[in-house]
Every structure is written in C-alpha cells, then in structure tokens.
Symmetry: C2
Subunit: 381 residues, 2 copies
Amino acid sequence: VSVAEVCVVPALAGQGGYPVRIGPGATGTLPGDLPAWAPAHAYALVSDEHVMPLHGVALAERLRSRGLRVETFEIRAGEEHKTRAEWGRLTDALLARGIGRDSAVLALGGGVVGDLAGFVAATYMRGVPVIQIPTTLLAMVDASVGGKTGVDTPAGKNLVGAFHAPVAVVADTDLLASLSAAHLRAGLAEALKHGLVADTGYLHRTEAEMGRLLAADAEALAALVLRSVEIKAGVVGRDPHERGERRMLNFGHTLGHALETVTGYAIQHGHAVALGMVLEAQVGEWLGVTRPGTAARVGTLVRSAGLPYRLPEGLDPERLLAATKHDKKARRGLVEYALLRGPGEADPGESGRWSRPVPDHVVLAVLETAGSATPSGESDS
Amino acid sequence: VSVAEVCVVPALAGQGGYPVRIGPGATGTLPGDLPAWAPAHAYALVSDEHVMPLHGVALAERLRSRGLRVETFEIRAGEEHKTRAEWGRLTDALLARGIGRDSAVLALGGGVVGDLAGFVAATYMRGVPVIQIPTTLLAMVDASVGGKTGVDTPAGKNLVGAFHAPVAVVADTDLLASLSAAHLRAGLAEALKHGLVADTGYLHRTEAEMGRLLAADAEALAALVLRSVEIKAGVVGRDPHERGERRMLNFGHTLGHALETVTGYAIQHGHAVALGMVLEAQVGEWLGVTRPGTAARVGTLVRSAGLPYRLPEGLDPERLLAATKHDKKARRGLVEYALLRGPGEADPGESGRWSRPVPDHVVLAVLETAGSATPSGESDS
C-alpha cells in the first residue's frame, strides 16, 4: 500500500485545485510539504482532547524540529461542542497567541475538528489557509474534502458556516489503527453513500470487502478512502458551492441531521446518515422516484456494516419531521431531499436540481412505518 | 443629476461582476431589480434602530406592495455592537423567522450594518446573497463596495469576518439628506483617502468642492460617491482578496483602527482614519518612503474637511502602539503600514506588497511629536 494523491479542481477558475494525499504514513512528508502548500509565519495546530495526546503532540514536535513555528490549540471533543461559543473561544486563543494573517491552520481530527477549525480559518482575519488532516474514517472519506466548514446552532446542524476549500488534505490511514468500531462504521456509512449515489462497482466491492473493512484492514481501508475521495473530488470539483450536482451527496442527510438534532447528538453522524439513507430511499420509493427494491438494498448494505437501519423506539415521527424544517436544504419553506433513482445512481431531480421537495405526509408515512421496517427478504430476528 | 452605474469585475474568473448604482433616487427601482439580482423566497431587510424608522419601514412596504416577501430585522446602532454576540443574535432571528438558504439579505445602513449584516449573509447556511444599500456617505464611498464583512473582537477591529461580495450595491444619495455633519465628514475622510492613494485630480476637485460637500450639496455628493466608487472598484476588482494592490486602501487604517480601539470607538471610523492618514504620512516621511511635505498636505486636506489632524490630548503613544499589534495587517509579528509616495500616489512597497513593516521606534517617534504637529505653513490658532 503506498500513498496516492487525488487533486480536487473546482470548476470555478482562479480557485486552483488542492491535493488530497491518501495512504499509510501520508503525514510523514508534512514537514516538507507545509511550507510549499501554505508558507506561513506560524501554524496553528488544532485538535481535540482525544486526538491531541494521541497524534497532535508528536506531529507538532516533528514540525518544530524542522524549524516551523507551531502553536497547539486543544478544543473539546464531540458534536455538542461544535458551537459558535467554541468558535469564538478558539479564535480568541489564536489572537492571544499572536497568530497573524500570515499563518495557517492545521485541522487534526475528525469531522468536528475539521468543521470547527475550518470555520475559524475561514473567518480569522477574513480567512487564512487550512490544511485538513483527518484522523477518522468518516472525515477521510467525506468531511475533509470539499471545503464545507461550520458550526451548529440550537436550531440545527451546520446552520452557520462557510465554504473554505483547504489548501491540502492529508489522509494518513495509519491513524485509523486506534479508531473504535463505532467510528469505523460511521465512516463506512459515508463510503456506502458514495457508492449508492455514483458507483455500483464501488458498492459491490465495499460489500465484498466488508469483513476486512470492519476488521480495520489497512489495505482495504486505504482503497476505500481513495475511491470515496475520487468520487467526492469529481462531484465537488464540478459544483464546489452546491448549486446543483453536489446536492446528491446530501442523500440520507435531511433525515440524518434531524435524527442527530432530536437525539441531542446522542447518535453519531455516520450512524444517523445510515438510517437516513434507508428512510430516504423509502421516501423516494413512495414518490415513485426511486426504483422499487432500492430501500431494501440500502437496508441490507447498512445492516451489513453494523449500522442502524430502523428508527429507535419511542422516537416521535412528528418531532423528527419538525426538525427537518430548519434544514439548510429547505426551499420556499419546503424541505428538499436528495434521492436515488436506484443503487449507484442519484436522482438528478427536475431541471438538474439534484433534490426534490417532499410533502410532509409522505415523510410521516415513511417514519410511521419505519419502526417495523425490515430489509427485504430478511427476518428481523 | 442622474443615476450612474459602476461595475465591479473581480479579477478572479467565475466570480462575475456586480453593479454599483449611484445617484439620487437610486433605490426607486429596487422592487424591479431585486428579483433579477437575487431571486429569493424571502428578503431579510437588516437595519439599525436609527435607519429602520427613517428609511427601512418605507422600503419594506414598497417591496411588499410589489409582492415580495420581506422580513425586517433591527440591530443596535454603533460600532460597539458590531460583535460576534450581535451576529449570533441576528442569525438566530433569521432562523426563527424561517429565512431559508433561498433568501437574500438587504443591508440598509452605515458601515456597521453593512459589515454585520454582510457577515451574517456570508455565514448563514454557508452563504446567502447580500445587497448593500448604504445610507451614510462613508458606506457609499467605501464600505459597501469590495465585499469585506466582519465584526470586532475585544482584541481589535474586524478581526473576524469574510470576503463576501454583494450581488449589487445601491447608493441612493437622496438618503444623505438626513446625515449629520459628523457623519458627512467621516465619509469625506475616505474620499480623501481615495484621492491620496490614486488620483491627484480627484484630490484637487474634492478640495475645490469642499464648501458644497460640507453643505451636503446633492450634486457634489453624487459626483464624489461616483468617483470614489470608480477608484475602489478598479482596485478591488484587480485584487479582491487583498493579496497586494488592495492594501493601498488601508492607508490611514493601521493607526486609525488603533485609535478606535483605544478610545472604545468614541472616535468615529472616518475621523480616526483622517488622523491616521496624517500620522501615517509622517511615518512614511520618517522612513524616507513618502516625499517630504506630503504629511503637511494631508494635514491641510483633513483640516479643510473639519476632520481631526492631531492626537487627542492625554492619549498614551505606547497604548496606541500596542493596539496596532493585533492589526490584521501584521506579518511575521511586524505591523504593516500602507504608505504614500506622495499625494495621489500609493507606495507599492517592496516586490509589490503595497505595505511595509514599520519599526516600533519610528511609530513612537511620530506619535510623540504628533500632539504638537501642525499642518505646514499654518498657525495652530
């Protein structure tokens, strides 16, 4: 297994592309690469309380030993801290340590660190460069690529943020060795999403490799990250600001975000998206947009990765529906869903919108039957 | 006097240009223009407690009578409220009123409203369009054009923000009729800056028209706004993200911002910039970058507009110097100053940086003598 590189080239001219380096030991060349990617007076290495002792301290030392000025900043772990308050605290900490506009941010961690540190970089003195160094499978296959940054508000997920493309992404798959099974599965959910919206072959390969993937096999994981990043780089390169095609990547996310919100983020993002994909495939079938049998196939895939495929008991469908109303994807007051035509094929929607408004009664009908839904052909025992 | 239009065309391809419409009654065509500039489900009209009753309520009614959905949001007036807290409150108010991603923000007011509402637009659901409708001379000649948005932190001015180009700017010079003399002068300061960095002819004309300008003559003001916007549109079009040439527009602003910070914004932005220009011209002369006599000329101009040209008594030079240290223009720990070569000509600096690091002792020397400095050839009586 060696290090591979994918280049994200946004369709907007003048923005330049950025490299996504993937593979075991990919962070090894950071001391040499950083000054080329983002020449800076100082580097602000941001990580959370778990990742900082695990990988952050050592990385900072390695960079310092090569003469770079590195200041480290530790934030609290967990989606519940991805807030405006934490963004303000981190910004003030950078200011207090004399980080100037000629600095760059290194975001070392999972999706929360990437989103929060990325948003600090996007808004610090009207924007400084950020290098994304994802340490979870979910962040490697999805969150670190594409420039989405932001924080949550009490009204919902990622309601405040900015598009701020990184100058580089370094996905060192060696860092996945310490990942928990739950985090591994969360990443697999987004990888399955990439297959479901764009690549049947990838879907089949992922299914066939599921055993090795769940056992954290290094080679299988590196191949997975590479293919997911290739797919995502293609989509976000053609539509960096999500005016159309990029919306397909929101499959599973309208109900997924609502699940996270109503459970107070007790359910992990990837797990919520997995269940969201099952539910939204059912929504698509109800509307006649998605081929019959697709939801059952999604359910089987999600289940094979050990991810949730049924609504938790006691979850009120009306509350879940209400939580979708603040979703960013809402248009003219109607909530929009990115749907599938079938496994491996996103629905382009009307006039290439890549999403569709869905009436409340359809969503409610799906949610009300989902508690007892089972993947096709399988008993629920 | 008729309505003129300048187009800002950023050098970054794919970003498109935006119109700046200038003249008496320029807001009259907004009901027809808005849906073309920013087709939106709803328009969030943001203004402050002074401007909302004066112009905001009537504008909202006019837009509503043409079938547009307009929600109004009032913020507190004054630079001391241009904070992250106010940004958060305004964001939450938009969310609570169901403003979706298919909405647009109308920023009606002075620089504070434009910066704050612009930053809300930049970060609301990762960015919604903003239309800048400046109501002060300062905002018309300077702040509303160029896409700078942001808020202050306790450490300094505009330390948090984003570049978020408006989709259009409408400078209705009729709105200046109710402007106070102090606000009028504040705008003249930025207009003088445009002349000082880029256009000797404009400088002479402004000087010749000073009487009419200070008397708020409609025609003279409209001509002033037009020429200032032409100059600014050229500069920010070539360098939208302030990587070089745009820095010339920071002339007077390093010490100007410090003056605002140490006085707790008791001194208005334009007035602080006026004094900042006098001081920074002296800094340039000390360094041998600025032709001798320039500072005296700047002092005369500033004084003719009724703007401050001497440090207020009791202002500690060391505190002022310390307040420059957090300035965004700092590089490698050294604070950078945009300087003049002479009246009408900005200093390109070394290798086209359009700014220079200035040693502390030079700044201190200037500040320590500035209390007693007088424009050349004039007595101080």
